[in-house]
Subunit: 327 residues, 2 copies
DNA sequence: CTACTCCAAGACAACGTTGTCTCTCGATGT
DNA sequence: ACATCGAGAGACAACGTTGTCTTGGAGTAG
């Protein structure tokens, strides 16, 4: 800035004024300064600027997701980015991969960088460490936190799951199996709750803690070999649904066993049969989370809110297979 | 820091020493300081620290992608994040949506934030504005820049496309259609070049500037209605492939018209028939781009490099449909 | 017992900005 | 012609930290 001032033949402060667009500079001086800035490729030192201004805002938020490479996280991320863009805010991201330690490390690191706020899809089962993060607003998305209260945006897991199972019941099914993710995940528990709710006291076979496509395929095959094999499947998560589809295709039952999956996935409509799902709306969730966060950043100070984003049942074929008349 | 010093009964500088882990502090003093830091929730002001240290490193890089919500960008992003994590560097991301203006704006904004480097999947057709970005290393990924030279990581588009088309030829096809993305995109041009290369002087019907699934479906239907309808399709991009699959299924030709798509996509193996593709390797590309960037950040100063990541032909079924004996 | 060495801890300045105060100079009104 | 006013421009200090130099006191050798 000194160099610019010297080149333009003005004082340091005048350069500062021009750079910050303050009005009280005569046009020709301003032009000279701008030319000098240009020719010297001067760029202000943000650190110094923030220091002097005592500006606590970095106009940057941190977002902790399960894995930026998976479609659900990607959609969340994109929606958050769009909301941030509207406010001239940039986004730092990190993938947690279900790793509790990484969640804590990244949260700390982002806070250290003075991000104005944090949006977290928690990986760990305990977020109480966040209670020391005073002054940094936090919003949770996709999964509720535990041990710490803050705004939370989640799908209507119970209602969505119950709706899916009722849909199967409406098509004549009585033995409806549940295949779910790790029970330590709150979403898995909620979806199971919805399943139970819809079936009352007569649930079908249940498999918990299924993790990943391959495990899901195996679990599905095992289920269908049982004497009391179900006539319909309700799968509690993306990859489980896909694993189930693979299993059904493999043993040629894809046209006779009904299937509804929780969470939509690309090309579900191109499979044979097209897969009926309870779609979540990650874009809406991301937008809602970002809106809530920015409200907090702007000083809103109420008690923690829970924002539920409704799911949508999308009938595509696999969920409308009626129970086989005889068996 | 002053408060901490007072609380611990030491001088400012000693606190600084403890915070920065300098060895020359007696253990009990250090303990007192740490306790004070804890109780006051003191966190150093990064801006001030950078200012004094004259540290130009923010340990932050910027990544400009087409759209963080699409799987290809997501995989790139993830690989870059992992490479960055190994070095304790964080990642700022932005989605460009093919918008030239946004590319320039975000590049400038990230540079303004003093990111240590930039990885760009260019949206615009001219990157010459970057030549003014002295001091900020830049690496391009997925698409080569124009008007500006820097390290670039791209797929072997020509060879990959040629291989795909030769694969179809090997299965007896002679009238092989090409459906490609906007020609202004370098990748589209290269893939077309590969197609021509494989077919010599007898190319089949060609449709350029197909954008998106719906347009691709329409274009495919139109192609197949022609008198000289092709017996095989080569599609130059993800969404075009999917559109083509839809079209083929719709008119019931999915078992008789061969198809090879450029770029893999999730569930391609679950479709009917499973779709043969030329897979790109976004994870490798992201890793290579990040490695190149960090080399530059660490001072490497050679001429711009072009890093080509080989594609892989994955035969799954749709590309192995032989030409119908009579027609 | 003195003189020297060494090391922990403190004092001070400086990093690049900007808020605030002050100064200068030209314009205006009487 | 003189007093008053206002606006544009500069001088100066301060933001929170750390590099460098200085100080003080304990330890050690002669």
């Amino acid at each position: 800035m000194n160099d610019v001032a010297r080149t333009a033949g003005v004082s340091l402060k005048t350069v500062s004024r021009v750079v910050n667009g303050e009005p009280s500079v005569t046009p020709d001086l301003a032009a000279r300064v701008r030319a000098a800035v240009e020719s010297l490729d001067y760029r202000p030192h943000l650190g110094a600027s923030m220091l002097r201004r005592n500006d606590r805002r970095t106009r940057m938020i941190g977002v902790l997701l399960e894995d930026v490479a998976n479609p659900f996280s990607g959609a969340l991320h994109r929606a958050i980015e769009d909301a941030a863009r509207d406010r001239g805010v940039h986004v730092l991201t990190g993938s947690l991969d279900e790793d509790e330690q990484r969640e804590r490390d990244l949260a700390r690191a982002f806070r250290q960088r003075q991000t104005d706020g944090l949006i977290v899809a928690p990986a760990g089962s305990d977020q109480s460490y966040l209670s020391r993060f005073t002054g940094t607003p936090i919003v949770f998305v996709d999964r509720p936190p535990s041990g710490f209260g803050a705004d939370t945006v989640v799908s209507t897991n119970v209602a969505g799951a119950a709706g899916a199972v009722r849909h199967l019941v409406a098509h004549g099914h009585r033995r409806i199996a549940f295949l779910g993710d790790y029970q330590r995940r709150a979403t898995a528990r909620e979806r199971f709750r919805g399943y139970l709710q819809a079936l009352g006291h007569r649930p079908g076979p249940v498999v918990h803690d299924v993790r990943g496509e391959v495990a899901a395929e195996r679990a599905t095959l095992a289920l269908l070999r049982r004497a009391d094999a179900p006539t319909a499947l309700f799968t509690g998560q993306n990859l489980i649904t896909i694993g189930a589809v693979r299993a059904l295709q493999r043993i040629g039952l894809h046209q006779s066993i009904a299937l509804v999956g929780f969470d939509d996935f690309p090309l579900a409509d191109l499979l044979d049969p097209p897969v009926t799902v309870v779609a979540q709306h990650p874009a809406r969730m991301g937008r809602a989370a970002a809106d809530a966060l920015f409200e907090r950043i702007d000083g809103h100070n109420g008690p923690p809110r829970e924002i539920r984003v409704a799911t949508t049942l999308i009938p595509r074929g696999s969920g409308e297979i009626r129970i086989a008349p005889a068996r």
